[in-house]
Symmetry: C2
Subunit: 250 residues, 2 copies
Amino acid sequence: MSIAEPLQEPCAEATQHDCKHGRAANGCEDCKVRLFSVCAALESSELEELDRISQARKVQARTMLFEQSALAGSVFNVTEGVVRLYKSLPDGRRQIVGFALPGDFLGLALQDRYGVTAEAVGRVSVCRFARSAFLAYVDGKPHLLRRLHEFAGHELSLAQDQMLLLGRRTAEEKIAAFLLNMQARYARIGAVSVTVPLPMSRQDIADYLGLTIETVSRTLTRLAREKAVLIVPDGVRLLDQERLKRIGAG
Amino acid sequence: MSIAEPLQEPCAEATQHDCKHGRAANGCEDCKVRLFSVCAALESSELEELDRISQARKVQARTMLFEQSALAGSVFNVTEGVVRLYKSLPDGRRQIVGFALPGDFLGLALQDRYGVTAEAVGRVSVCRFARSAFLAYVDGKPHLLRRLHEFAGHELSLAQDQMLLLGRRTAEEKIAAFLLNMQARYARIGAVSVTVPLPMSRQDIADYLGLTIETVSRTLTRLAREKAVLIVPDGVRLLDQERLKRIGAG
DNA sequence: CGGCGGCATTGATGCAAATCAATGCCGCAT
DNA sequence: ATGCGGCATTGATTTGCATCAATGCCGCCG
């Protein structure tokens, strides 16, 4: 665990928002936390309170935010960059169970252990909340509790989709579904584009999809050869989204 | 959806319990619902109230309790038998995301859609709650809300374990882990035994572990040949649990 | 009793993805 | 510049599991 010194600095660049107007927003210019769908459930006074109990922190690539067997002492909100969440087998085999993008929370399950390891993919900014402070904050707000529960339900649903993908889909289907999914997720945080950023390594993608690095590489090159995608530095441009949807449709 | 006529009959056989004493229990003799770990969070008066809003129902094998795309209008508590929860691809490929045993809840995520299909494996008894009644019941009880949230977190953690299993483990490891897991689950509901009941078909096990029926069969036969297990009607006796743990350890 | 249908087992063969093995590409430090 | 280390790509080969194909077992019903 390396969640040591709190830095208390606000998030780098601010984005448009309208929290108190009830729409999904990218966060508040004067806030450290970055909220998306949770936001609608918060009054702006509550958001300020949330902000007050948070500690902003920037970490460099490969920094471990927490380890799977560690006691879940903190809740994190990712504000910049990508975090990989994974489980490992004793012999080193690894399964990435998710990538956290800006706006996502980590440690929200409120179990006593994290259960997964969280590691910065590149440079990452997070806001940290002491578990106790977060719980105290949430406890008096039933509407928030409900919202968090719905969130957990959504997470579970995504996990089940991923099970279907891991257990029953081919390499090509996995890749296509992954690309479309990443595109949709970036779109939701305001980065709508046919060019999907892939800040994580091929090994990360492989460990997310239950494949090897070679199969990921080969499948991407094949899709590129067939003009379905164009591989660009740190990302992929989706040229034939229709075809990708046909392949990756769930 | 075939959650039609409420039958209003109590659960078949009763089991020992001590809900109001704060320990995990098997349910109440005079109650229809069957609670395990949730129970500790409930006062007996609350349990009665929960019971009052429930409708008991017995269904035969292969009955669909709900379909993945259906609106989540009900919450279920399994009281007898096993329910399979699965997702399907348009072409028929199926991934079972979990088996619900007596004491388990279905539809607790409180999403608007179920997201998975639930089907009785054999004869099954459930208690049904109208979603609205269940929500009304839960709403005034923050401790219960918290508990449900912890539950959701636990479910998510199990789902992540399953991702690791599906993405990164061999057929033999999958089978061994599955057997030990089923044993542990039956133990928790009071059926401690080296003989693990397997009421579901080989096809179900295959669809749960991301394998084919033939691979499940072959792997079990091999484990039997190597005296790690003994295959019995509707179950497996774990002869060499140490070996199974070595194979299936996570 | 016999035949039928659904499931499980077992064997032969095929194939998608893993493994093994270079090679290439780049950023970076010397 | 040059060499080095980390990642990605590409090719050759292997292999674990899937697929295809019987065969067996058993409960059920006429």
